[in-house]
């Protein structure tokens, strides 16, 4: 479980987040949604410590993220996996070297054990026989899957994904979503996902946080969206007239 309290962030004059308080649950896919520029990436980067907030607290279970000693921070980092929008793979390393990197850095495993582990996670993301390929030889969806494999290779307890299915066709996007959901439930991970893909929201939205104007505009789960009367979330999810009509039909209005 991750708790954030009163997070504020601005870049110079520009205020991006104005006091965000929320909880992300364990074993659940927690979604941060909002329009482009709403501050989703900034919030995610604050959660993993890539940005320093101007104010506020981040709690990983019972540890306050900004008050850890160097050693504690290092240990916590080993429990964090993150998937970046473009995969963020090393171009000059092949798939196996990319996935093995966290193992090389943080474990005392033997070479054979590491290779086994790499095979295992590749199987998990439904990729096999690509160990010796370079990122440039893979499609965008495959790179994302390698990114996921690298993110989960150390068995993380916290998984962060920045727009995991942007730039993918709807079918591949669903496969990726399902994969993240499976991993989250199977290993009981706290997963936080940034997205503006409405399919993801309705498929895997266990806990949804809508950011608007630097504040939390709405919070709930995917079933509550359908019946919600809150104009902000309705306006955001059912953005097109077609979806609006569909919603009315479904609710019998």
């Amino acid at each position: 479980m991750i708790k954030i309290k009163d997070i504020e962030k601005s870049f110079g004059e520009k205020v991006v987040l104005k006091g965000i308080t929320s909880t992300f649950h364990r074993g659940k896919t927690n979604l941060i949604i909002g329009r482009s520029g709403a501050g989703k990436t900034v919030l995610l980067k604050i959660l993993v410590g890539l940005f320093q907030p101007n104010k506020g607290e981040v709690w990983y279970d019972d540890q306050s993220f900004f008050q850890l000693s160097k050693k504690e921070a290092r240990q916590l980092r080993m429990k964090i996996g993150m998937l970046f929008q473009g995969g963020a793979l090393f171009d000059s390393w092949n798939v196996e070297e990319n996935i093995r990197f966290p193992l090389d850095m943080y474990t005392e495993m033997s070479y054979t054990e590491k290779r086994e582990r790499v095979k295992e996670v590749l199987k998990k993301v439904e990729l096999t026989g690509v160990e010796n390929k370079y990122p440039s030889e893979l499609s965008g969806g495959m790179q994302k899957r390698v990114g996921i494999a690298r993110a989960i290779v150390l068995n993380p307890q916290y998984l962060f994904c920045d727009e995991p299915n942007s730039g993918l066709d709807p079918k591949t996007a669903i496969v990726i979503d399902q994969l993240i959901l499976d991993i989250t439930q199977q290993y009981d991970i706290t997963t936080v996902i940034n997205t503006h893909d409405m399919n993801s929201v309705m498929e895997i939205g266990d806990n949804i946080l809508l950011l608007k104007d630097g504040c939390v505009a709405w919070q709930g789960n995917k079933d509550e969206i359908l019946t919600s009367e809150d104009p902000t979330i309705i306006e955001f999810i059912f953005a097109s007239p077609f979806l609006k009509r569909l919603r009315k039909k479904a609710l019998g209005l």
Partner: protein, 251 residues
């Protein structure tokens, strides 16, 4: 105007110093760093051989021909050409020109490579894993450079002198024995030491400056291009300034 430029300069310098401290912190895992270092040595050393070879052989040849042109018809004996070519090559041409050449080749490459990693969030990804990215990206390249570049400079000096030898043989400018006599005359081993000090210093400067430009690049391909250009220009300026300081201090 002057104020803002001075402010920027000192800001950058301060950031560079702080960043260098991060670069020189203890590596997390020696063998991962070692693997990278070997790779970089290969890229940098072997990759730069052809260009260093070609440039050096012509430099030596041109210097020899030019000196012959200046000296012929004067009372300066011909064998002086061998002597002057040797010393100029060792003290100045080999270290300075080779390193300026490498700033263009290796420096721009380092800036573009590390800058690309910043822009594609690869550095962020490693930061999240808890890797000391400044150290991991810079130390292997730096070690490779301060080891390989002096070797390349020694090679450049030798090839330059060889270039001079060929120019005198094929050009029939003067006799080979005169050139060789010149090479043997007034040899001061200390000059070789100066050459190595220069090569080492320049290697350090061009690697750290170029890596710094890449590490702090902003987003966008225009910025990446700028970082790459800045890496070369700033490295060249730093090399020339350092060249001057070393010349003052050591001779």
């Amino acid at each position: 105007m002057i104020n803002t430029i001075a402010y920027k300069l000192f800001y950058q310098l301060g950031q560079w110093v702080l960043w260098m401290r991060q670069v020189f912190s203890k590596p997390e895992k020696i063998n991962v760093y070692w693997r990278e270092t070997i790779r970089q040595m290969n890229d940098l050393g072997v990759g730069s051989l052809p260009v260093v070879f070609i440039i050096s052989i012509f430099f030596g040849a041109v210097t020899t021909v030019q000196f012959y042109y200046q000296i012929s018809g004067t009372f300066v004996p011909n064998y002086y050409i061998g002597y002057i070519v040797r010393d100029m090559t060792i003290i100045e041409l080999a270290p300075t020109f080779t390193c300026m050449l490498l700033a263009g080749k290796v420096g721009s490459n380092i800036a573009a490579e590390i800058g690309g990693m910043r822009q594609k969030e690869i550095i962020d990804a490693m930061d999240v894993m808890g890797v000391n990215t400044a150290a991991f990206l810079v130390l292997p390249r730096l070690i490779a450079a301060v080891f390989m570049i002096p070797l390349l400079v020694i090679l450049a000096a030798a090839i330059s002198i060889l270039g001079g030898y060929f120019a005198s043989v094929w050009g029939n400018l003067f006799t080979v024995s005169e050139f060789i006599q010149g090479l043997h005359s007034f040899f001061i081993p200390y000059n070789v030491f100066i050459m190595l000090v220069k090569a080492f210093t320049f290697a350090f400067l061009l690697t750290t400056i170029s890596a710094y430009q890449g590490y702090f690049v902003k987003s966008g391909s225009i910025e990446l291009g700028k970082a790459s250009t800045n890496a070369v220009v700033l490295s060249d300026v730093a090399i020339l300034v350092a060249d001057y300081i070393i010349a003052l201090v050591m001779t």
